[in-house]
């Protein structure tokens, strides 16, 4: 969106800018500084009110979290699940998204709505419903079960992004290729696929981060045997017992991939992907 109005006075413009940037920085930076401080609290001294800054800092919490297997195990499991979900979503979503983007048949409207339904139903309904089904067929508390249940809510995002990309391919380009003598296969190989690749990559990236951060469905299907990183964070935030210093460590570990993805999306991808991808988290 380009700005619509220009404020004439130079002073007024700068003042408005300064105020908004200041508030935004306060809203985002202060909590993150607090998180870092919490993760560095010296467990022997603690950080009790009314101290605004901890009396003494140490890396003891980080040492502890890296020493017990729970954090690295959860991280590894989360990464494996994220890779599997990304692959499954790409394999399932690529043909469907392409067909949805290029098709003109009347039933496409219906399919489009169907694809959106997992985003329009509260996650808790799907989580408990699928959780009960998975308990009956033995997929509960397995990595496969968590992968399948995450795919249900991430696949719509993949399909929407691929469909939007396929829709944006100009028909003239395909006609031109055919007129120049390319067969269906050649058109697909040399025109369609190269043009789809940015969309496929964007979809894969957002599926990966979506899986890494998904909590509710993984929690209902996976607990307690399959614990992912967000579930560990939930546990330390008070789901099991509130230990804020450990929660800070897990939160910061989880924050890094999120910010990396945002930087990549901002730098390399078209903005529509973010809008299509994060309609619902």
């Amino acid at each position: 969106m380009n700005p619509v109005w220009i404020i004439r006075g130079r002073f007024a413009r700068s003042a408005l800018g300064l105020a908004i940037v200041g508030v935004a920085a306060l809203v985002f930076m202060l909590p993150i500084i607090t998180a870092v401080l919490w993760s560095l609290v010296d467990p022997d001294v603690g950080w009790f009110p009314p101290d605004v800054v901890p009396a003494s800092l140490s890396l003891a919490n980080w040492d502890h979290m890296l020493a017990i297997p729970e954090l690295l195990e959860s991280l590894g499991r989360s990464l494996v699940i994220a890779v599997l979900v990304t692959l499954l979503c790409t394999v399932l979503g690529l043909p469907t998204g392409f067909s949805l983007g290029r098709g003109r048949a009347r039933y496409m409207r219906v399919i489009e709505v169907l694809v959106l339904t997992p985003l329009m139903m509260p996650g808790i309904v799907l989580a408990v419903g699928l959780g009960a089904v998975f308990i009956r067929i033995g997929l509960s508390q397995t990595v496969l079960g968590v992968v399948l249940v995450q795919t249900a809510v991430i696949l719509p995002v993949t399909i929407r992004i691929v469909a939007a990309t396929a829709r944006a391919i100009p028909g003239d380009l395909l006609d031109a290729a055919r007129n120049l003598g390319a067969g269906s296969f050649a058109v697909g190989r040399h025109v369609v696929v190269p043009l789809l690749i940015p969309g496929i990559l964007a979809a894969a990236l957002l599926s990966f981060i979506g899986s890494l951060e998904e909590f509710l469905l993984s929690f209902v299907v996976g607990m307690p045997k399959v614990q992912t990183l967000p579930m560990l964070l939930w546990a330390y935030l008070g789901g099991r017992s509130a230990i804020l210093s450990y929660a800070a460590v897990v939160a910061l570990v989880l924050l890094v991939p999120a910010l990396v993805v945002l930087a990549v999306v901002e730098r390399f991808l078209k903005q529509e992907y973010l809008a299509a991808g994060f309609g619902k988290a």
């Binding site: 700068s14 909590p31 399932l92 979503g93 509260p122 009960a132 249900a152 924050l255 945002l262 809008a275």
Partner: protein, 313 residues
């Protein structure tokens, strides 16, 4: 197709006309076959998976809520689960609590996002940085937001500590009965989502329309009231519906920041399912959540059909 054939004839060495025609016919037939059944074959993997992933849980909840999904006590058609849910004042309070959180969060998120979008319509230094910052919560999980809010405004949080030094009493904003802490964390995620949709909606309004109005002498306020606002209503209300559904079904944040009583409906539902193994009761609550969602969605489509007519008129 004729242009196609001619072009291809020119581009290649001339082939025997018979072979050419057969090839062409095969290609056309192939393309037609693809257009008919190929599209359906391609749709099948993704759409089929989603259809299954939607149908199975809803069927399970439907059958489970009337005692037909046989867990332990055997299958017998009964409405006991609904009787339990409707008779229990705890369930009623949970429903109302979730509803209130959802309504308050939706109203606040839309208002804040609309205000931010309006500010972003002005050109000012640092505008791009603000847009970038506003996207941060999109990729940061709500659980991290819960941690941040807990350590900022919770008892013993940053603000409480600062207030103490200023000699002030910090109010209880987390684990409160009004669900303020929950609303704040949910807004952390919902405001940027809404903002992104509002920005996209405003960007889709033709610039010519605004310029024309201004050329005809309308001031900024009139442009906003008469052009931007009416044209933004459908998109913004869609965002509001998404926010409502998302927050009405929220589990993680209320489970961490909610009061001991009342609990949010999804929290009650998860407890019944995971800890007490009361599948029937959990299924009945799940159906109530699903029905509420569908009611809100259909109300939205009903109202939207109305606004379309108003704008056209």
């Amino acid at each position: 197709m004729t242009v196609d054939t001619a072009a291809r004839g020119e581009a290649h060495r001339p082939a025997p006309p018979g072979l050419m025609r057969t090839q062409e016919r095969l290609l056309t037939a192939g393309r037609r076959w693809f257009e008919r059944s190929g599209a359906i074959l391609l749709l099948l993997p993704g759409a089929g998976y989603i259809a299954l992933a939607m149908a199975m849980p809803l069927l399970q909840l439907g059958l489970g809520s009337v005692g037909l999904s046989g867990s332990g006590s055997g299958s017998r058609l009964s409405l006991d689960a609904f009787r339990v849910v409707f008779a229990d004042p705890m369930m009623r309070d949970a429903f109302l609590f979730s509803l209130r959180i959802a309504v308050v969060t939706t109203l606040l998120s839309v208002a804040l996002a609309a205000g931010l979008a309006m500010l972003l319509m002005f050109a000012f230094p640092g505008r791009r940085a603000v847009i970038l910052l506003a996207k941060v919560p999109l990729v940061v999980p709500s659980l991290i937001a819960a941690f941040l809010v807990l350590t900022m405004i919770g008892p013993g949080g940053m603000f409480a500590r600062m207030a103490h030094h200023a000699g002030l009493q910090w109010p209880q904003l987390v684990h409160d009965r009004a669900g303020l802490g929950i609303t704040l964390v949910l807004m952390w995620h919902e405001v940027p989502v809404t903002l992104l949709i509002v920005i996209a909606v405003v960007a889709s309004i033709p610039r010519d329309l605004i310029d024309a109005a201004r050329n005809l002498g309308a001031d900024a306020w009139r442009v906003f009231l008469r052009i931007l606002l009416p044209l933004a209503v459908p998109g913004v209300s869609a965002a509001a519906v998404l926010v409502f559904i998302d927050t009405f079904g929220a589990f993680a944040v209320p489970s961490l920041l909610g009061p001991a009583y009342p609990q949010a409906l999804p929290v009650t539902m998860t407890t019944e399912f995971l800890e007490r193994a009361h599948w029937e009761v959990a299924s009945a609550i799940g159906l109530i959540v699903a029905v509420t969602t569908i009611a809100v969605l259909s109300l939205y489509y009903r109202l939207l059909a109305g606004t379309d007519r108003v704008i056209a008129a």
